[in-house]
Symmetry: C2
Subunit: 420 residues, 2 copies
């Protein structure tokens, strides 16, 4: 059985590679027309897609999925419209492919042009939410990449229906065959087979929980771009404006607690702990935030419970905040570098030199001065769309937009030069 799956996946890989060469020759206009056709195709297939989704929901209920999981899985007319709109919006974004990144001429007359090109074939492995099918496929297609999608078993009917709608409507408008392929079965071994197929897959992006990412990382032979935890910090310095700090903490923690750029640990300069923390406690308590405090801050935070060592490493993804006093900027920086996940960290201060040092020495994808951690986001950065927020340092770090789905090549223009 696993051998059959392996050969089916190898076959998809081979076809994707062939498709990638066709994709690389499409113009921006051709790609945008196809994307708009796919956006329409999704709405035209509304009945089929919602019927398929109803099967997933029924299976999910029978298997006892949580209400939250069922909600992530659910499609309705409004959500499908949003999915279609998102595909159309990708068409409206500028195409990074073909961009000249730099060019120069060597003393021997060789002209060298560094140009943005598609990566090739990208594997996307994701869980539950069916919209990842269309989001990932449209972003990868826009950048001239072929995709092999492997969604979670709980959304298999929805994913198949969505992919089929995009494939058929795209094909009618010139989408090269096998540009967008969805693994049609849910056998767990398919993840492993994908991760080993480095002859056909140039990149794997796992979108999902730590277990999934771990599995891909430990198996993959090709590059993986990881979207790990966000154990994000705000550090309130001794000179911080308290009203601003409370706003930023509240927004970072509560505006959307279940996401990777939400605040998880607050660090407060010891000299302002007694003036700042009691006010903060009132605000956080009104916002129903559960506080876990270190020894020094515990008496200053009404309603807080004691934090344990594990709290400093935990991504709660919930209305819980760990709070620690620090002796100053140096301790704040070393705490963040030691316990954080190098995702998003913000300092609240009026002192420019402290902000500069914080942003320079905190080893995170996004470092902020007087701003909510929630701004680490492709949309908020103005990228138009994002495939995720990378916690890696190679190739893509932080919000990943279209540019991060491309590679480059060097074009060398000569007139017969040889090397001596």
């Amino acid at each position: 059985m696993s051998d059959d799956i392996q050969s089916a996946i190898l076959d998809m890989g081979k076809k994707a590679r062939a498709a990638s060469y066709e994709l690389a020759t499409l113009s921006a206009e051709q790609k945008n027309n196809i994307l708009r056709a796919m956006a329409e195709g999704i709405m035209a297939a509304e009945t089929e897609i919602l019927e398929a989704n109803a099967k997933d929901i029924a299976a999910g209920e029978a298997n006892g999925l949580s209400r939250a999981m069922l909600d992530r899985l659910l499609l309705n007319s409004k959500r499908l419209q949003a999915i279609s709109t998102a595909v159309r919006e990708v068409a409206d974004l500028p195409d990074p492919v073909g961009e000249v990144l730099s060019e120069w001429t060597r003393p021997n007359g060789l002209r060298i042009v560094k140009k943005r090109v598609p990566i090739g074939v990208i594997g996307i492995i994701f869980e539950s939410r069916p919209n990842v099918t269309s989001d990932a496929a449209s972003l990868c297609f826009k950048t001239g990449n072929a995709t092999i999608l492997r969604g979670g078993s709980e959304a298999i009917h929805s994913n198949r229906a969505l992919a089929a709608a995009m494939q058929s409507s795209g094909a009618a408008c010139g989408l090269p065959e096998n540009s967008i392929q969805l693994i049609p079965f849910t056998d767990r071994s398919s993840v492993e087979h994908m991760a080993r197929m480095d002859q056909y897959l140039d990149l794997i992006i796992p979108r999902g929980g730590k277990g999934l990412i771990e599995k891909v990382v430990s198996t993959a032979r090709m590059p993986v771009i990881k979207h790990y935890d966000g154990v994000c910090h705000v550090f309130v310095n001794d000179d911080a404006d308290h009203a601003m700090a409370i706003n930023i903490v509240l927004n970072s923690k509560t505006q959307k607690p279940g996401v990777c750029n939400a605040l998880e640990t607050l660090l407060v300069h010891k000299d302002v702990a007694s003036s700042f923390l009691p006010k903060l406690a009132t605000t956080l308590t009104s916002a129903k935030v559960d506080m876990r405090a270190d020894e020094a801050s515990l008496p200053l935070l009404q309603g807080a419970s004691p934090a344990v060592e594990d709290d400093w490493r935990t991504e709660y993804l919930d209305l819980i905040l760990s709070i620690k006093t620090v002796s100053g900027l140096t301790e704040a920086i070393s705490h963040i570098n030691a316990y954080g996940s190098h995702h998003t960290d913000s300092i609240v201060t009026q002192r420019e030199s402290d902000a500069m040092r914080f942003m320079s020495e905190v080893d995170s994808a996004v470092v902020m001065w007087n701003a909510s951690t929630r701004f680490n986001d492709g949309g908020e950065f103005g990228f138009g769309a994002e495939i995720g927020i990378s916690t890696d340092k190679l190739h893509a770090r932080g919000p990943m937009g279209l540019a991060e789905l491309t590679s480059y090549k060097y074009l060398v223009y000569g007139s017969g030069q040889i090397r001596s």
Copy 2:
């Protein structure tokens, strides 16, 4: 024993991570002064280094290493001077760290600055040649990265002496402790322990044969930048200037046959095979190049032997050339994409449209028009130095200079912005 080695390597990783935070705060001037001190330190330790090297040579002779291997291993006064000069040249290069890659302001007033930063900790695994110790260490140090070096057992004494000279002379000038660490033992398991240590190593670069790279790729949990084979092609089009084509083929094949950017397969347009190949055969025979020809070209190449399927995939690294006629540009492109290693491929033609199509559709790191494949090189590109030629598409493709040894971070400047 392997447990001891693992814990020793984990300890080196932890120390390297700590060093990387110190390194990130050094100015370009501080780093350049340290590099110059290390260049002097290498020459000051000439006696110790050459004595250590003599031990490696003696052991290599006792173990029956080939003459070529022994020559790669050998250091003498002149070679050590070249090693020292190379370190000083790295000091003279511009420092990419701190470069602003882009910056913009969002409608809400947030200013976003994308800035080049060190990667962090880089592991380099290499074979035989001791100069990789100083080359890799100096390039990684220049870009603010800590390094853990793991050289081949046959060069262990030379590598230790070189590393010790750099460490002590660097330390006297402010090199942070543990910035440059060499794994002091030669147990084979150390490669595996390094490859699994993703909590401390941000990147591994294996420099060596296919076996070594394969081993790292299949074990590594962190990003790997690979320097695989160069199965490089020249395609001689039907309108090519024959004298230019012969020059380019000869230079690409023979100027330095043992390197990855040397020519391995020549493709010739069928319409010019009978006029071009006999002339070429004369030249190649004078240059002692062994020709392996397909059926159509065999009768046109005096002295050639028949090629077999494997020849089209082989990196000879020797004075051997496989030669094939193709029906035209389309077949040339698909042959290269199917059989090549996506390294360096060149077209010889006068027709601009054909050159453009070749450079666009050939999926290689470096694509050339009327130039020798030997120009795919960091020095020839003007990068000043290179750590290698990447055959990957993520992060670094083609010649890897200093810029490719850096990552970036986003600095976000706010004034209290929160997300609504």
